[in-house]
């Protein structure tokens, strides 16, 4: 079960993920990112500080946007992951393919430098 909240700060769209993302809920993550892109945001921050779990279905959603974001010059930075969630990304080396910051301050810095 996942709750997704969105808020905008300094021109960036912040998508906060609350709960667990698995095969039954990854569609909601996909829709939230698609909505942000559809609204024209080019800076997207994903707040993972209340994300308790993410399965491969959720990882796949992030992966599926990498090429499109590169082509459209959209910047996405994830931040605030717990050790367990961070480990899930690093098992497959996705931490190398996605931009991941420690906290919101760092994530904003990364997104502005990209």
């Amino acid at each position: 079960m996942i709750h997704i909240k969105r808020l905008q700060e300094d021109g960036a769209d912040i998508i906060a993920l609350i709960g667990e993302i698995d095969a039954s809920s990854s569609i909601e993550l996909d829709l939230a990112i698609a909505k942000s892109v559809g609204e024209g945001f080019i800076k997207i921050l994903v707040d993972c500080s209340a994300l308790e779990y993410i399965s491969s279905a959720g990882l796949g959603v992030f992966m599926s946007y990498i090429e499109e974001f590169k082509d459209r010059n959209i910047k996405m930075v994830l931040f605030g992951m717990s050790d367990k969630v961070a480990n899930t990304f690093s098992i497959l080396g996705l931490n190398e393919l996605l931009q991941i910051g420690k906290d919101k301050v760092q994530a904003k810095k990364i997104v502005n430098e990209l």
Partner: protein, 151 residues
């Protein structure tokens, strides 16, 4: 007075649950796995990796072998024996979805083809030590083995 020595031996523990093939049940499956593995001296990080791999195996089974039919049941069993590898079994009577027969796609091709699948198989193979399938009397048993550190 003669002292009697007791040799303390922790017996192996078996945990079993039956699950309907609806992906809505994955959360309960994860809770069952976490509950079974806690209090055995296995680290939280190792438990979280096992949960991730089994979540993947269960969702594959629900989606590909049972088309998310909530009336189809499969059994998940967990065997914990101190200082031995953990053994997990998924038992069902659907079509076998043998992940060993799938070539693991390269991360690059997953990114390039914007695939949302393919990552899970990589995850399971990176986390588990062994994945084997067996068919007996119309039942499929998928056995996953994982060595962990017991504290």
């Amino acid at each position: 007075m003669e002292r009697i020595k007791f040799k303390l031996r922790k017996l192996s523990m078996n945990y079993k649950c039956k699950v309907g093939c609806s992906i809505e049940n994955l959360k309960d499956v994860r809770d069952f796995i976490r509950g079974s593995l806690k209090n055995h001296g296995i680290s939280d990080l190792e438990i979280s990796e096992i949960v991730l791999a089994l979540d993947e195996m269960c969702s594959n089974l629900m989606i590909h072998a049972h088309h998310c039919n909530p009336d189809d049941l499969f059994e998940l069993s967990i065997k914990v024996e101190k200082n031995n590898p953990l053994v997990f079994e998924l038992i069902d009577d659907g079509t076998v979805f043998d992940i060993n027969e799938f070539t693991t796609p390269a991360i690059d091709s997953i990114v390039h083809e914007k695939r949302k699948g393919g990552l899970g198989i990589r995850l399971v193979k990176s986390i588990m030590d062994k994945i084997e399938y067996q068919k007996t009397g119309g039942r499929n048993i998928c056995r996953l083995v994982k060595s962990v550190h017991f504290n």
